[in-house]
């Protein structure tokens, strides 16, 4: 009291105020909550998607605002890093202020504790015993260690104090956990892309947005070996190697150089009996000028190659430029030449089809297609290889196709399937081309060719009175002409074209009748041409045709009716392939882990110490009196008060049993 008035209260130093603020629990809790909320935003809003997706989702106005806030990459936004930074500062301050005291507490037995303090403790008990001071002291010095407390004794004048302590670990736990958080955050910041962001802000790097070969990427988009930490990927075809990798960054990418080059010798996929993939493996050769011989190792998912601080992972796979042999079957009239094309997946080929220039862009080849099975006994079935490509016409418009190599069964019959779609967002719609008895497309092709052949059509139409009923007025030559026109229309515009013709030229009340008539006529002509096709093949049709051939006719007619919507003048049949895959490798360098991993170990150890080694203290204060000894027994525990109270009563009972016998 005196002191205070004699020495006027000093204004606290500025640094102390700051220290108090930074080390305060309120700040820490606020930061924890802020970090949680920021993290939630990052999970609700899908991160690192192409910017166009966001524009579509939010509209240009909100897109701009969200972009300014860095919401498309929350975890490397500057404000997020700022929160992390303050968390590090706050935790460090907390450790700086409390750790020395904590560590002192661990060794301190509190031997100078006052009598009143002991008596006021929630766990406190007193005895008056007719015993000697030495006797009681000896008992205390054995009972406390027996219960796991290490004991120290002080003798001061007429009283003695036996002070016991256990569970110093919880204090250590505090220090360990908090230092661990600091280490983990710093390690994480090193491995995050904060440095990259800083370089970008300084204008030292600019992400490349064009899809160009790695060696053409300008220096401003390249990162050298001095880049401390990164995580990127590269697709390496079998038999090739790469000494760079690509880091996705904002709307573009950066090229990261490597001090070695990685060669993929072979890539393999294994499957379970049920068809699901079982393992993805790559045989790698690592060429490093510092090595006498290239390093050879097979990697697979969960088994990366760690070399010189770089970790090389099996991340994905794709086609690495398979060589395909495609046979082009013409679908429209005019050019009826079949041609064979040799293409490489990933390359574009210029071709002339039906006197028009086209570009064939082959994008993918798959050796296996594991699809859900229709057979209830099996979940999946392998429907064999497929090729995916785009056909771009002279206007630049393109449709995408997916053709299966092997015929696929549907309700007992086999078809060559070709999927088509106008944009990646759509599902493929399939054209079912029936397989002939020889297992090929020959019959379908002949059928199509004859249907486009005016001579054949003339002959067919002339040969038979197509309609059973007598004709109303016109003479037969004119009628034959009309029928030929109808077939031509069907071949050029499909069944839809025929129907719209009816809608255009026929009064409403007669439409249905006329439409039925047209269909019947078409069926008859098509049937007659089909008979010609079979005759071409040498099939005897005088006694009618079998069910299979009849079904073929129906399927072929349906396919021909759909061709006009198909969007390509040819059907590409995949006849042969030389499979070449590319292994998608992810390569990472994360020096921050040398802080993060020890941090993790400290965190686990610290957490368990804090909860399961709580610091507990016991005191026995012995005072010599005229009648013997006056004993005050007291205890204090940092946490788990309820358990400690029970334990205290047990130890008290032990003393009573020994001392009061």
């Amino acid at each position: 009291m005196y002191k205070q008035s004699a020495e006027p209260l000093k204004k606290p130093k500025k640094s102390a105020v700051w220290l108090n603020f930074l080390g305060s629990m309120n700040l820490a809790i606020t930061l924890l909550l802020a970090l949680s909320i920021a993290s939630i935003i990052g999970t609700v809003l899908q991160q690192n998607q192409p910017y166009t997706d966001y524009v579509i989702k939010f509209g240009p106005f909100w897109f701009e605002i969200f972009q300014q806030l860095g919401l498309y990459d929350v975890y490397s936004a500057s404000w997020f890093l700022l929160i992390l930074f303050f968390l590090v500062v706050s935790t460090s301050t907390c450790v700086y202020r409390n750790a020395p005291g904590m560590l002192r507490e661990m060794r301190e037995y509190r031997q100078s504790i006052q009598l009143e303090t002991l008596q006021k403790m929630p766990n406190s008990f007193s005895w008056q015993l007719k015993r000697s001071l030495d006797e009681v002291q000896q008992v205390a010095q054995q009972i406390l260690p027996h219960n796991g407390f290490s004991a120290r004794t002080t003798v001061t004048g007429s009283f003695r104090l036996v002070a016991g302590m256990k569970g110093a670990g919880s204090r250590l736990g505090y220090v360990l956990t908090h230092v661990a958080i600091v280490l983990i955050c710093i390690g994480g910041l090193i491995d995050g892309n904060a440095i990259l962001k800083a370089k970008e802000m300084l204008g030292q790097i600019v992400p490349e947005t064009e899809n160009i070969p790695a060696n053409e990427v300008p220096m401003i988009s390249r990162l050298g070996l001095d880049n401390l930490s990164f995580r990127g990927s590269v697709s390496v075809p079998e038999g090739s190697q790469s000494n760079v990798l690509f880091i996705n960054y904002k709307e573009g990418y950066l090229v990261q150089g490597l001090p070695f080059s990685i060669e993929v010798k072979d890539f393999r996929i294994e499957h379970y009996a049920s068809g699901q993939p079982k393992s993805f493996e790559s045989d790698l050769l690592l060429h490093d000028p510092r090595l006498a011989e290239p390093l050879e190792q097979t990697i697979s998912v969960n088994h990366p190659l760690i070399y010189d601080g770089y970790s090389i992972y099996q991340a994905s796979f794709s086609d690495g430029g398979s060589n395909l042999e495609l046979q082009a079957w013409p679908l429209s009239g005019g050019d009826n030449q079949q041609q064979t094309l040799n293409v490489t997946v990933g390359d574009d080929v210029q071709i002339n089809l039906a006197a028009q220039p086209w570009v064939l862009e082959t994008s993918d080849f798959r050796l296996f297609n594991i699809n859900p099975s229709q057979d209830p006994a099996k979940k999946f079935q392998n429907v064999g290889p497929s090729v995916q490509f785009k056909m771009r016409d002279k206007t630049g418009a393109a449709k995408e196709f997916l053709n299966y190599m092997l015929p696929i069964e549907r309700a007992g019959a086999y078809y060559y399937l070709s999927g088509v779609r106008s944009s990646p967002a759509e599902e493929f719609r399939y054209l079912y081309i029936p397989m002939d008895e020889a297992g090929g497309l020959g019959r379908f092709n002949t059928f199509l060719r004859l249907l486009n052949d005016q001579d054949v059509l003339q002959k067919v139409v002339a040969k038979q009175g197509i309609l059973d009923q007598p004709l109303p007025t016109k003479d037969s030559a004119q009628f034959n002409q009309a029928m030929l026109k109808l077939v031509e229309l069907f071949m050029q515009e499909g069944i839809d074209g025929v129907m719209s013709q009816v809608d255009k030229n026929v009064p409403v009340e007669k439409r249905e009748e006329v439409a039925q008539l047209y269909v019947r006529v078409l069926q008859q002509i098509l049937g007659a041409v089909y008979v010609e096709v079979l005759a071409d093949e040498g099939v005897d049709t005088s006694l009618g045709i079998d069910e299979k051939k009849a079904a073929f006719f129906d399927d072929a007619s349906a396919a021909i009716g759909a061709i006009t919507r198909y969007g390509s003048p040819v059907y590409f049949q995949l006849v042969n392939f030389e499979h070449k895959q590319a292994s998608g490798l992810q390569i990472a360098k994360a020096p921050g882990k040398f802080l993060v991993y020890p941090g993790c170990a400290m965190l686990i150890l610290g957490v368990f110490l804090m909860f399961y080694a709580p610091q507990q203290r016991l005191w026995l204060r012995l005072q010599e009196t005229k009648e013997g000894v006056s004993i005050v027994f007291a205890g204090h525990s940092e946490r788990n008060g309820l358990d400690f109270a029970g334990q205290f009563r047990q130890i008290q009972a032990q003393f009573e049993r020994v001392l009061t016998t």
């Binding site: 820490a28 015993r131 699901q276 993060v596 020994v658």
Partner: protein, 391 residues
């Protein structure tokens, strides 16, 4: 020797831990040591060094656990006997499950899990009946049901493990790989944690509250089984073929189970808290005292937090091996962090700010919802790398 020295000597020997062990304790350790030796001599060539260490470490922990918590012995032995019985009934492959009487009605993984489900729901009802009737005997029956349900749950998982190998040697894997399997794991871990505290605090009135969460899990499990055929054993995708799965997933579910337990204790806390203002003879006053509930809630969250920390770190180490980075801000990872931050804040408030009582109980309940979102919501609403447990 003076009388006091004799008394002291007597006292020091009296509480000696080793002397406190009885015949059954020793018998228990002998059984475990013999089984471990048997497993080691027969299967050592198939195990790598980690597996040998795990075998020895788990037998030591089982011995110590059995000494401190006697009921664990009965559980282990029943699971052991029933599982072996179940496995031995499979003679001609998986089809036996439809033919063999015991498999069909008792010990095939499907049947065992149905038994588990039924028993947990029954136990919930029985616990509440006991609570309302204030009947000790009924509560004991409920406890017995919970133990039986837990036994059947373990048997179901064990037999399922074997069944996966019967599908194909390359398909076989520990049954903690999808949402169906971890729901069983969640139920039995939560039940075991509860049973531990039931004995520790000598009170059975909380049973109904805790088993309510388990019953909810069982309801989900049944819907998932019948509506989505989730019980089919699927081979592992390559990303899951790792030793880390065996430790990451169970550690996580100790965390989830403990958080669920804490939340249900918090519910009981709030009920008792409100009851204390009113009639002292109301039913709610038969709940444990607020101090006890508060303590239990803290212990449960502390346990959950410790194991959740462990699990998240194990997950990070696994991610470093499988995905090329120990942290990818994948939604599941991020939500694990959010759960962790939430309980970290809870613990700071209690331990350093000394918060107690109603707000902490309410927060523990909110914590369960955050945990639930991390556990289920992420799989339902968000996409990411953790797409194994898709709904």
């Amino acid at each position: 020797m003076t009388s006091i020295q004799a008394a002291l000597k007597n006292e020091l020997e009296r509480d000696s831990f080793w002397k406190g062990l009885n015949l059954f304790d020793w018998l228990w350790s002998i059984v475990i040591v013999v089984s471990t030796a048997y497993a080691y001599t027969n299967y050592a060539p198939l195990m790598d060094v980690y597996e040998k260490v795990i075998l020895v470490a788990s037998s030591v922990s089982l011995i110590v656990l059995g000494w401190h918590w006697k009921a664990i012995r009965q559980l282990s032995l029943s699971v052991f006997v029933l599982s072996l019985f179940g496995i031995s009934r499979y003679v001609n492959g998986l089809a036996d499950a439809e033919v063999d009487f015991f498999l069909r009605f008792l010990v095939s993984s499907q049947s065992a899990i149905m038994w588990m489900s039924a028993l947990y729901v029954l136990a919930t009802v029985t616990y509440f009946t006991a609570f309302i009737m204030r009947s000790d005997f009924t509560a004991k029956v409920a406890s017995a049901m919970t133990w039986s349900a837990t036994t059947m749950g373990f048997v179901g998982l064990m037999v399922r493990w074997r069944e996966s190998y019967l599908i194909g040697l390359d398909v076989g894997h520990i049954p903690v790989s999808n949402l169906y399997e971890v729901f069983i794991l969640f139920s039995i871990i939560t039940a075991l944690l509860y049973l531990f505290y039931e004995r520790r605090y000598q009170t059975r009135v909380l049973g109904g509250f805790v088993l309510l969460v388990i019953s909810a899990a069982v309801a989900f499990l049944l819907w998932y089984t019948f509506d989505r055929q989730a019980a089919d054993i699927q081979p592992l995708v390559p990303a899951l073929k790792s030793y880390w799965m065996k430790i990451h997933v169970p550690a996580n579910f100790i965390g989830y189970g403990a958080f669920a337990l804490a939340a249900m204790v918090a519910v009981a806390y709030l009920i008792r808290f409100n009851a204390e203002k009113g009639d002292s003879k109301s039913l709610a006053m038969t709940l444990p005292e607020l101090d006890v509930l508060d303590d239990l809630m803290y212990k449960s969250i502390a346990l959950g937090f410790a194991f959740f920390t462990l699990a998240t770190i194990l997950g990070a180490l696994w991610a470093a091996e499988a995905w090329g980075g120990y942290w990818s801000w994948d939604p599941k990872e991020t939500w694990a962090l959010i759960v962790w931050l939430n309980y970290a804040a809870w613990l700071h408030m209690r331990l350093t700010k000394g918060w107690r009582g109603k707000p902490m109980a309410a927060w523990a309940i909110v914590g369960l919802f955050v945990t639930l979102f991390a556990f289920l919501g992420v799989n339902m609403f968000l996409s990411g790398l953790h797409s194994y447990g898709e709904l």
